[in-house]
């Protein structure tokens, strides 16, 4: 089991305080850019009913699921209350030469 850095997109491909969906192999991720241009990544599907989080709204450090308003702190993956109770898995992200890279374990 080693971490592998995967190229996600250019820094400018994600708006500030927003999120994109990133699919890699059978997996889907949500990659976030905060208002002050820090990058984060979580599992792409809501832990409540497997909805793609990238269609949800990012406000400050919270992603809100597009369907049932389940909310998570995307920095820690922490579920912030009903209807979500299971935290999101988070992944390491780094920026290199203007590219956003995501650490996945292979």
């Amino acid at each position: 089991m080693t971490d592998q850095w995967i190229d996600v997109c250019a820094v400018g491909d994600i708006n500030e305080e927003d999120v994109i969906r990133f699919d890699h192999g059978p997996h889907t991720y949500a990659v976030y850019r905060s208002a002050n241009s820090e990058f984060f990544a979580t599992a792409g599907l809501c832990t409540h009913e497997s909805i793609h989080l990238a269609d949800g709204l990012v406000m400050e450090h919270v992603i809100e699921c597009p369907k049932h308003n389940g909310r998570f702190d995307y920095r820690s993956g922490k579920a912030l209350g009903a209807p979500v109770c299971v935290n999101l898995k988070t992944y390491e992200v780094r920026v290199e030469a203007g590219r956003v890279l995501l650490a996945i374990t292979v």
């Binding site: 269609d55 949800g56 709204l57 809100e64 597009p66 049932h68 009903a82 209807p83």
Partner: protein, 413 residues
């Protein structure tokens, strides 16, 4: 009066009742807690019944609030299949179907509703299905085959979502609506027309302003006879003509009942220590407003939770910005707030062929909004509209109509 150590009891183990039970435990209530329901399943959310479950992409576990093991672990006594047959508010007790009496300290009525039945269907006719429960959805799923000729009666959300799912499964679908447009009771005209266009483009034979004369067959349904004389041969009929709130228990006990069980701002019924929540609950959205019921996921979720807080003595007024969604084919609609029965004040198009409609009051404050787009693409904007409604800030019609102006920017102005 009830014994001091009587349990908290919830009648109705659907979404609202289940959420209330879980919230009571979350909030630290450790006394006896009894959740009574007709169905044997643990509490579940209903939206997937007409979509993912029929398609076979999700199962009950995927939309249950929790499983039976979790209920047991939390000490929530789930009484299934032993329906309540009487309520005696004076003595704080319920009578169960087996005749036994159960005392309560406080009671939540979350009895939901049942499908409205179509009067002209002979009782014995098989293959005339309704969709409200998980078991009904399973029965429907088993009947939807690629060669099925399906007639759907009712152009509301159940009918439309079943039509979309059935088309995806290869069925031949005719949809009959009594009114002049689809989902006309709750949607603005523009959404009704894009739904009509979408379903027709997907091969659904949608007929509006239709009156049904009879549903015919010997053992199984064979045809639907329209008032204009047309005969529609079919193998399966799905009826989706709304729900009827289960108010009988409350009414027989002398509680105040309108179109649902009436509650005050704290979700208290007219009887002491009895609350109501969910589809069956008739409440005022604003202190001066009329009574209304809401048959939505959002209402079940928030009212169930809120009722639990007040069962514990919270005395909190219930407030909600209403909202609902519907998914059909690869399109979705969402609404938030109150959609006036008038032309929208402003509208804008969104990338990918969608749009947003905005409803402002006389002071230019947003009251409601709805949107249409591929997948869940409309969700971000609708969530921002929810925050704009809550902010009560006056908004510029020009800015709302300008697709280049982000709603997030308007929120922060």
């Amino acid at each position: 009066m009830s014994p001091a150590n009587a349990p908290l009891v919830i009648v109705g183990a659907g979404h609202a009742g289940g959420r209330a039970a879980l919230t009571l435990r979350d909030e630290g209530y450790s006394g006896r807690l009894i959740l009574i329901g007709d169905e044997f399943h643990p509490p579940y959310e209903r939206p997937p019944l007409s979509k993912g479950l029929l398609q076979g992409t999700v199962d009950l576990a995927g939309y249950s609030l929790c499983n039976s093991a979790r209920l047991a672990e939390l000490g929530i006594e789930h009484l299934a299949g032993n329906p309540v047959k009487g309520l005696d508010p004076q003595r704080h007790r319920l009578q169960l179907a087996d005749g036994s009496w159960l005392h309560y300290a406080r009671l939540l009525l979350a009895t939901g509703g049942c499908s409205r039945k179509l009067a002209c269907v002979p009782e014995h006719l098989r293959n005339v299905l309704y969709l409200r429960s998980h078991d009904e959805a399973l029965a429907l799923r088993a009947s939807l085959r690629p060669d099925t000729r399906l007639v759907i009666i009712g152009g509301g959300f159940i009918g439309l979502e079943v039509a979309a799912t059935a088309r995806a499964l290869g069925c031949t679908v005719t949809l009959l609506e009594a009114g002049p447009r689809l989902a006309g009771r709750v949607l603005p005209e523009r959404l009704s027309s894009v739904l009509l266009e979408l379903h027709r483009s997907q091969g659904v034979d949608v007929r509006l302003n239709v009156a049904i004369e009879a549903v015919q067959g010997t053992t199984h349904v064979e045809s639907v006879q329209l008032a204009d004389g047309q005969l529609l041969p079919c193998d399966l009929v799905v009826v989706g003509i709304g729900m009827q709130p289960n108010t009988e228990l409350a009414m027989a006990a002398g509680l105040e009942v309108g179109q649902g069980i009436r509650v005050d701002a704290q979700l208290r019924t007219s009887a002491p220590d009895i609350f109501a929540a969910g589809d069956v609950c008739e409440f005022r959205l604003h202190p001066q407003g009329g009574f209304q019921r809401q048959e939505t996921w959002r209402n079940a979720e928030t009212q169930g939770r809120h009722a639990a807080l007040n069962l514990l003595g919270g005395e909190l007024p219930f407030e909600i910005i209403p909202g609902f969604w519907s998914d059909q084919y690869d399109w979705g609609l969402q609404t938030v707030g109150v959609i006036a029965n008038t032309e929208p004040t402003a509208s804008r198009t969104t990338p990918g062929g969608g749009f947003l409609l905005f409803y402002l009051d006389a002071e230019q404050r947003l009251q409601g909004a709805c949107g249409w787009g591929r997948g869940n693409s409309v969700a971000k904007d609708i969530k921002l509209c929810e925050r704009l409604i809550a902010s009560h800030n006056p908004l510029s019609v020009e800015a709302l109509a300008d697709a280049e102006v982000s709603l997030k920017q308007l929120l922060r102005n």
